[in-house]
Amino acid sequence: MAVRVRLTDGPLAEMIQTSFTPGCGARIVFDGVVRPDEDGQAITGLEYEAYRPMAEQQLERIGRELVEKYGLLSMDIEHSTGFVPNFACSFRLVIESAHRKEGLGAMDEFIDRLKQDVPIWKCAK
């Protein structure tokens, strides 16, 4: 039931491939990517501001809750702070589960909760 949380300055690097946790039948990786427009305006990127200690705690708390609820094997959460240029990755969620359904359900719910309860704000630049 490993939950890992990282806030990283700037765009997220490519994912480091690791072997699958024993029992894992489905690994799902979500990359959130900065798009070159925001509300129809061309931008160069997004500046993320986090209330850091609370953001880390909330991410971990939501992660633990969903690992429990869906019976996941692992959850790895990474979010950028600071400036992330267009076409770069600012958020990554990696979920391992025995089967697909619980992994996809947990991913959807995690991102809903992220956008509701995690004190991170973005500002178009």
């Binding site: 959130g32 993320y48 501001e49 986090a50 209330y51 200690p53 609370m54 953001a55 705690q57 979010h79 600012s90 958020f91 991102i111 992220l114 956008k115 509701q116 309860d117 995690v118 004190p119 991170i120 704000w121 973005k122 500002c123």
Partner: protein, 97 residues
């Protein structure tokens, strides 16, 4: 501004609870500060403190309306009494991901 004062250095009274409220993102940008200090005539609940915050800083009103207060890095219940010694933050509409 009954019950609520924008604290200036030297103005604080030992009898009046003094709340420092951290601001982030749009709320911080709205008033150009990353925190504000409120003095209240009485200990406040979360909802009361929000009302006083909006009253003291009209530029924050729209943010306060959609926001919640966090106390010691966790969301506070609307009717929970807030300890002035706690770390208090206004969490407006977030937009991570």
């Amino acid at each position: 501004m009954p019950g609520c004062l924008w604290g200036q250095a030297g103005e604080s009274s030992q009898e009046m609870p003094r709340y420092t409220i951290l601001l982030f993102g749009p709320a911080s940008a709205a008033i150009g500060q990353d925190r504000v200090v409120l003095e209240s005539s009485d200990p406040c609940t979360s909802d009361e403190l929000k009302a006083q915050l909006a009253q003291a800083f009209p530029a924050l009103e729209s943010h306060v309306q959609v926001g919640r207060l966090a106390v010691n890095q966790g969301f506070a219940n609307a009717d929970a009494l807030i300890d002035p010694a706690a770390e208090i933050a206004l969490i407006t509409m977030v937009s991570g991901g």
